[in-house]
């Protein structure tokens, strides 16, 4: 079977052989075999390394400028290495096997090669290499897909809350055209029964910021689970931000709350972030008296919290500026705090009398839909929301 039954053009083969006699022998064997090849010759590894744009390399293992398997390793280290058939001397068949173990497709013993054997070795080696390449490309595609979903998982965690009485709703929307930003959220119940929640925003948009958002989210969860006091959690997150950011100007804003085990009050930390709301009808802003700086900006000082008494029936919503700063009705006016509060109050009214577990959209999804409708399409910015509630629909 001539090679070009498989492939319409002659196979490009590079013979790497310093001995002119051996080189002539190989080219005659190939000519006798009937296989269609475009045969080139290199006399050294150095020369071969510049000419690896071929389908198959016939490699003499006894080259003067390459001891042991260094020639083979060099060929295989090319970005898209060709198939390799190693040529060994009669006394070196063990080397041939080792070469295959290192990644060569096949080996031939000089002096024992017939035209048919050589042609078949070249053909099969190319086929095997092609199959390997396809497999690797497929693997890479799968890896990319799983990286994307891993990034999504890292940005959009499942809340870690055991208290079934506490209402915990989370939501995230990528920006327009699937624009990933650095918005993130998380909710974790601590060993003492308190529940910590965070919504954060890495300045800027793109895969780097999204990856950094995922990193900060993980740092936050780890510090909370490790039992660090809330203010120290922020220190850790800021240290991670400073160490992991790609450019020194990148900063992050976040809001963190820690709801006490009795669910009647909470500590509120504002780090350069929009003030969360008491989600009710009407919806109002939580106190912002102890507003602190964003994380990662060159201003000294830590953060202090404000204690908020919540009572026995409450619901709060933390959000990123994606919903706050969205334009409305396709114009240039922005939704703003008051506009957002109106939309949220409407959704609270609309949700009254319905059971929270009904199969219809959750309150968070309804709010996101309502903001989207007010904007007149998908939001430009990405957005993260967390709702915590107590004593609702009991």
């Amino acid at each position: 079977m001539p090679y070009n039954e498989l492939n319409q053009r002659p196979a490009r083969v590079l013979l790497v052989e310093d001995d002119d006699g051996d080189a002539l022998l190989v080219s005659e064997l190939l000519a006798d075999s009937g296989i269609q090849v475009d045969l080139q010759r290199a006399r050294s590894v150095e020369e071969a390394a510049r000419r690896l744009d071929v389908e198959c390399v016939l490699l003499d293992l006894g080259l003067p400028d390459a001891a042991g398997f260094s020639a083979l390793d060099r060929v295989l280290a090319a970005p898209r290495p060709p198939a390799v058939v190693v040529l060994t001397g009669l006394a070196e068949t063990g080397q041939g096997l080792q070469a295959v173990a290192r990644g060569a497709q096949d080996y031939l013993v000089k002096g024992e090669v017939s035209p048919e054997l050589l042609a078949r070795a070249v053909r099969y080696a190319i086929q095997r290499r092609r199959a390997e390449t396809q497999e690797r490309d497929l693997y890479r595609a799968q890896l990319r897909a799983s990286e994307t979903s891993r990034l999504e998982r890292a940005l959009l965690p499942t809340p870690l809350v055991g208290d079934g009485e506490l209402e915990v709703l989370v939501g995230y929307r990528a920006g327009r055209d699937g624009l990933l930003g650095g918005d993130f959220y998380d909710v974790v119940e601590r060993a003492d029964g308190s529940v910590a929640a965070v919504v954060g925003d890495v300045a800027g948009h793109g895969p780097d910021e999204a990856a950094l958002g995922a990193t900060l989210r993980t740092a936050w969860r780890t510090s909370v689970l490790a039992g660090l006091p809330a203010a120290q959690v922020l220190d850790v997150v800021e240290q991670i931000l400073s160490a992991e950011r790609g450019r020194p100007e990148i900063f992050a804003t976040l809001v963190m709350v820690v709801v006490d085990p009795e669910r009647s009050s909470m500590e509120l930390f504002l780090c350069g972030h929009p003030t969360p709301f008491l989600l009710d009808d009407p919806t109002t802003s939580l106190p912002s008296a102890h507003r602190g700086r964003a994380l990662g900006i060159p201003v000294l000082g830590g953060w202090t919290s404000v204690r908020v008494e919540l009572g026995d029936r409450w619901r709060i919503i933390l959000f990123t500026d994606g919903v706050l700063e969205t334009t409305i009705d396709g114009g240039s006016a922005r939704l703003g705090e008051e506009g957002l509060q109106e939309i949220m109050a409407e959704q609270v009214r609309g949700g009254r009398g319905r059971h929270a577990d009904a199969s219809r959209l959750s309150l968070v999804d309804r709010i996101l839909e309502a903001v989207r409708a007010r904007h007149g399409g998908d939001l430009v910015d990405d957005t993260a929301l967390v709702v915590l509630g107590w004593g609702q629909d009991a």
């Binding site: 804003t253 900006i297 910015d381």
Partner: protein, 113 residues
Amino acid sequence: MDVSVTSRVVGDRTVVDVTGEIDVYTAPALREELASLIDREHTDLVVDLTAVKFMDSTGLGVLVGALKKVRTIGGDLRLVIDQEKILKVFRITALTQVFTIHASIDEALAEQG
């Protein structure tokens, strides 16, 4: 919803006039203009934001980046802001403590560097 960025030399300083909205889509234009000025050794910058209608965190990042860059080479970057809604963006993040902010371009230029 676009942004226009122009610059002019006034004495020892370079005034950067920004008009329009600075968000995720328009911030790169501001970043490029500031980077190009700094590359050409205009390191004493006054960025006039009085004609800016909107700015988000991406725009803040660009300004913080430019500020850090000019400070490391002995320059400065001052801002002119006369609208509460723009000032609020800086106040929320505490970046008011990082930038020198003036209420008018005359005030910014009168200030000794």
